[in-house]
Symmetry: C2
Subunit: 418 residues, 2 copies
């Protein structure tokens, strides 16, 4: 075998089966290397649609796909379900709770976690949609709080139960606010005749002076309009500084009586990055070379949300799925080049632009320098995400659900799971 | 309104949104009564298919349906999500943790719980599929134990990890054993090339001398044959008397080294029955009159797994979905007759027979006195269960999944959720 001819096959360990890790594995599949893909879950999560799980539009099973059946056909890729606790850069090995795993090349793609910017009271109470379990928990929370509201006689306390504060005016916050508004005022209103759901409030809080920071101002304005048409209160230039069980505290403004605080305001690199003793940029992201490896450890690559790199214009590469995918594939390419003794190639980020869906029939898109909004942007978003979804069967089921929800103003998934 | 003309509308409270309670609600829908349906979950669970959730064939969302959207169109039926803690028969009211709820008529349909017959060590370690969450937990357990087996070097411990003991040779035990065999040896074998899954063992233990007690001996024999063809070890006349973390203890036989014990060997009435101070039969079931109410409280009906009643031949009415459905409807009918001052009617159980599916293309059926086995019985089972499933959309998705699993020897749902 060629593998033998070139001596012992190089062992590549990939940490994380998100977009970065999965595409790194795809890039190495079928080549003359042994790949071990590690994730603490046995499934890949299609993160861009997590907010739809949180809003009961999709079932968890529809946006998660078993890693083993993805790598099944790739003979040189094995999977291990484990939590990586520490990396020993000198000894070139990493540690899970059970095992010590040596590597010749390492790809760190462990992603990011929610960033509460040190707000302890928020960290304790906020709901997120950063992974499958938190999205399911948020879904149960929304439905359960309505069941509690049914039993609540005191109008003031009921009002607080029916008030949802969403922090963060980025794509996730905007998309979730829109779909939550439709869930409550178009779907659940049919299920809770005894509840005055007109009392319900959805408040989207963004610290910047506009929504969707970084997107074209025109699109941001359109997004705001659309949200307000749906009944969402948009509060710009407002900062959340804390939370109690019944209130959300704002800077220089009276608190909001609300029982549910949803936090989408920021991420920081996976804690693994903090435990490696390497240079980190804002948000704990690991600084990498243009070739995507650690400056002093060329055998260690970092990709996706965990990595920090700037484009030629000095702008940090965004923490989005397309960047992770491109970096994962590029890391694979460079590893193969290194093995063959070829010069490494610098990574170049191709910005695919941004698409944000704002509920039914509405979206904004900024693609290849051109902007679009309304129905077309919504349709484009739908198609792109459907095509990106891993697994033909999942695509089929997601499409069924979307069609169902769309046609019947329904929400497929409304189970409160404990 | 007619309601006013006849004076105050009678208030009927139904405890439990399973088959019995749901059909009682349907029977009272649109009539001149106020109905309050109470369940601790906000969804109805299609219990006969829980074992397929446990085996990763179906997603939880596909066999559970929100109660509120079932009763949505029934103006006189309201829903309350709450756990009923106590019934005060004298005061004609019941208590949840939060509320005191009075009733004119009560329908108790709280179902049954797993019966461990006092085996504490089993109760602590056994896995069940008695409700949605336990079925999901069992699914995660099966998949997680395979991930653990991948890391296990010691062949003896790996063997124990890969040994599944299923207790109870009734329909649930037989159906789960068959589908687990297919999951492991037809589906997962593709995902775990590094695992010697031929080492895996599935052992079905039944205390009686035959499987499917009560069914035609010929069918029982066929079920056993089919299971053994699939690789399941069937142990009849064997009793499980205890369990440790690594062993299942048998009466008069050496213990089995196994990490996973699945218990389907029996049920007892919901604990609510024990807290009412009324006459109970075997399994804690509440003894009811031929009209389905308590002997000394004609306004209190008990239906489904919770109720004990004998048919004219003196055989107890079985704890199966069709019986619960018939009793639920009958209780509704009798309540309406009582309100109108008409004589109550005794309940007559129409035995629809039994159908058990034994994996792919195989089943046994005993319907209207006639027996069938093999492909036809399997097909009949498929159709009946599909038609019975609540919610057109759920039927559609379940069919999609079944077709997918059938055609591609796949299992749709293989997520380990923590």
């Amino acid at each position: 075998m060629a593998g033998q001819a070139t001596g012992k096959r190089a062992r590549v360990v990939i940490v994380g089966a998100g977009f970065g890790g999965l595409w790194a594995a795809k890039g190495l599949a079928g080549h003359d290397v042994d790949v071990l893909l590690i994730d603490r879950n046995n499934f890949h999560t299609f993160v861009p649609l997590l907010y739809q799980v949180a809003a009961g539009e999709l079932a968890p099973e529809q946006i998660a796909y078993p890693v083993r059946s993805i790598v099944r056909r790739q003979g040189n890729v094995r999977f291990l379900m484990a939590e990586v606790e520490r990396v020993d850069l000198e000894a070139r090995c990493l540690y899970t709770r059970e095992d010590r795993i040596p590597y010749d090349y390492l790809v760190l793609a462990a992603g990011s976690v929610t960033n509460y910017f040190g707000l302890e009271s928020v960290a304790q109470r906020a709901w997120t949609m950063k992974d499958l379990s938190s999205a399911v928990a948020l879904r149960s929370r929304v439905l359960e709080i309505l069941e509690r509201a049914v039993r609540e006689e005191d109008p003031r306390r009921r009002q607080a139960l029916l008030t949802f504060v969403i922090v963060g005016g980025g794509p996730t916050g905007v998309e979730f606010a829109a779909t939550l508004a439709e869930l409550i005022w178009q779907v659940l209103v049919k299920d809770y005749p005894e509840l005055p759901l007109t009392e319900a409030r959805i408040i989207l809080v963004e610290a910047m002076p506009s929504l969707l920071p970084g997107m074209h101002p025109e699109l941001a304005a359109y997004a705001r309009e659309t949200l307000e048409q749906k009944g969402v209160e948009v509060r710009l230039g407002t900062m959340v500084i804390g939370a109690s069980d019944h209130e959300v505290l704002l800077k220089d403004q009276p608190p909001i009586a609300a029982e549910t605080l949803v936090w989408t305001a920021g991420v920081r690199a996976n804690d693994l990055a903090d435990r490696m003793g390497v240079e980190q940029a804002r948000g704990g992201r690991v600084v990498v070379t243009p070739e995507l490896h650690l400056p002093s450890y060329p055998e260690v690559y970092v990709v996706g949300d965990m990595a920090y790199q700037e484009d030629p214009a000095g702008r940090p590469i965004p923490q989005v799925a397309p960047a992770a995918i491109q970096q994962g594939s590029h890391a694979a390419r460079n590893i193969l080049r290194a093995i063959r003794g070829e010069a490494l190639l610098p990574f170049q980020y191709r910005d695919m632009g941004t698409m944000v869906v704002i509920g039914r029939n509405r979206g904004v898109a900024h693609v290849f320098g051109r902007t679009a909004r309304g129905f077309l942007a919504w349709l484009a978003w739908l198609i792109v995400h459907l095509l990106r979804l891993i697994g033909f069967r999942n695509r089929l089921l997601v499409l069924t659900n979307w069609a169902w929800n769309y046609l019947f103003y329904e929400r497929a998934v409304r189970l409160i799971l404990k």
